[in-house]
């Protein structure tokens, strides 16, 4: 592992790059999309620190509320993790695999390499003439962002990620599962296997190849923890919000694939069943209302279901022309969530004659 990085001279290309990333970090700190919960941030920061070793003081993790699979790390130590990625992780080891991979890019200074590649391929002098040195670096950084890391850089980051996972005590076999799970979601989409639709995949070529490579690397020295229960307990207070954001994306096929996988590993989880029921109800294709009804009813039977379970049930009953059951379910929803923003609308449904 290289020694900790020293802040580069501002007049250098690396210094310019850091300056841009510093500005981005300042904006990020003020962003309304930032998750500010201390316990979750400390937990994630601790995972990053255990992976980063001596570089821990330089790694600053920011959790960003965006329902897509993405994480990135800037050369100045700013790491962004999106909530869509956290929702999709089955355990701490899988999460560590992604963070370890990003730390790998950071340790190898791949972004700077990328910037220099672009620089050498461009008429850099023209950029300096147009924008000045710092401005030119800014323009090139934007340009560099348009290109992916090379396959070699990805392989290096994968190898480092596995090494860091192993050193921190995680089971490296979980790394390839991250990509396998995501690939299954992408294949469920109506547009098939378009990997570029996922932000991280847009810069990470050859997912199938990488899955195989990661599995091979993990097999070299097997063993380690997954810390599944710890992960589940830590994200539990936030997961319902993340599920709601996932449903709002309106990517029904992807969401059903994701939720079906999550339900398979936690079949007694009412929150997950209701989330899938909501997706089926919103998609409303043939048999979807029946599938939604089954999920809602299973959640009710399990107990601990969220209030929207009963609203969903009522909506399905209404569509099926069963007004008495619809009313009873709407009433149950209002009992559980009297202050819900749609409560006035729901009351009007209850009062509608014959519906």
């Amino acid at each position: 592992m290289p020694l900790r990085f020293v802040r580069p001279e501002p007049a250098t290309d690396e210094g310019g790059l850091w300056a841009i990333m510093d500005r981005t970090e300042t904006e990020l700190r003020r962003s309304p999309f930032l998750i500010r919960d201390k316990s979750l941030r400390d937990y994630v920061q601790d995972i990053a620190c255990r992976l980063g070793g001596d570089h821990c003081p330089d790694v600053r993790v920011y959790l960003v509320r965006t329902p897509l699979f993405n994480a990135s790390m800037a050369p100045n130590g700013t790491m962004q993790v999106w909530t869509g990625l956290m929702l999709r992780m089955e355990n701490e080891a899988q999460f560590a695999a992604v963070l370890g991979h990003e730390i790998g890019h950071y340790l190898e200074r791949h972004t700077l390499e990328r910037l220099r590649d672009v620089k050498s391929a461009s008429a850099f002098g023209q950029f300096i003439g147009l924008f000045g040195l710092v401005g030119a670096i800014g323009q090139l950084a934007v340009l560099a962002g348009l290109f992916s890391f090379s396959r070699d850089q990805e392989r290096v980051a994968d190898r480092i990620g596995i090494t860091l996972m192993r050193k921190a005590g995680y089971d490296p076999a979980e790394a390839s599962k991250v990509w396998g799970n995501l690939l299954a979601e992408i294949k469920a989409r109506p547009d098939g296997d378009n990997e570029a639709t996922v932000p991280m995949f847009a810069t990470h070529p050859g997912v199938a190849e990488r899955m195989d490579t990661l599995a091979q690397l993990a097999a070299e020295v097997p063993g380690g923890d997954t810390r599944t229960e710890t992960w589940r307990a830590k994200i539990k207070p936030f997961r319902r919000d993340w599920l709601i954001e996932e449903i709002r994306r309106g990517q029904h096929e992807e969401s059903i694939a994701l939720l079906t996988r999550m339900i398979a590993s936690a079949p007694g989880d009412a929150e997950l069943l209701v989330a899938r029921g909501e997706v089926y109800r919103q998609r409303a294709k043939e048999k979807d209302l029946e599938l939604a009804m089954t999920d809602y009813q299973t959640a009710v039977a399990l107990g601990g279901e969220p209030p929207e379970t009963h609203r969903g049930l009522a909506m399905v009953y209404r569509k099926r022309g069963e007004p008495d059951q619809a009313r009873a379910s709407f009433q149950r929803y209002l009992e559980m969530a009297p202050g819900a923003p749609d409560a006035p609308m729901i009351r009007s449904y209850i009062e509608e004659p014959g519906k």
Partner: protein, 190 residues
């Protein structure tokens, strides 16, 4: 919103964007809806903007008034495109008000913005039994928090709606009363 801005800039460079003044008085929106306005607005006209009329008082992207008239079953409520990479949101004639609001929510958050419904209640619109909703939108592209309000009704399997949004500080409070009057003046023809 980012996509809208890019489209508008591109169209403006191509000379395809027109900003027309909407004069005070009775105005037809499509074939079946009419509204009365008490002060002038700006109507943005450009190809590919989608089925709603786009009006603004302060200029886009500061504030935006969307007027939907006669959206048919299966019709998208936003401009198409996205190369299949972005979810499209279409009206279905059997949607309940909650589902129509969820559809608009999906449309407004296609760029990663976040939407929070603050109220949904029954309310007459266009002389029909309809609904009104209030919401907050945090825009991804610039982190600006917008307040929003909308009205809607379904008549003869067609959707009619008015949605307004503006930054919650100053702009929304400044123009919301006028928007409310426009919504209350709406009539839907048979």
């Amino acid at each position: 919103m980012r996509k809208l801005t890019i489209i508008l800039c591109t169209l403006a460079l191509a000379g395809c964007v027109a900003m027309a003044k909407v004069e005070t008085g009775d105005r037809s929106i499509g074939d079946r809806m009419a509204v009365k306005i008490e002060g002038p607005w700006n109507h943005l006209e450009a190809p590919g903007l989608g089925p709603a009329q786009n009006w603004t008082m302060e200029g886009l992207p500061v504030d935006q008034l969307l007027l939907y008239s006669g959206i048919k079953d299966g019709e998208l409520v936003h401009a198409g495109g996205g190369g299949g990479t972005r979810k499209e949101f279409a009206f279905r004639a059997n949607m309940h008000p909650d589902e129509i609001v969820a559809m608009f929510e999906g449309m407004l958050t296609r760029d990663g913005s976040t939407f929070m419904l603050t109220k949904l209640e029954p309310a007459p619109f266009g002389g029909r039994k309809g609904f009104r909703f209030d919401y907050t939108l945090t825009r991804k592209v610039d982190n600006v928090v917008l307040s929003g309000v909308g009205w809607g009704a379904v008549s003869k399997n067609e959707l009619f709606a008015i949605i307004y949004m503006a930054p919650r500080l100053a702009f929304f409070a400044r123009h919301a009363p006028q928007v409310e009057k426009i919504a209350m003046s709406a009539t839907i023809k048979e």
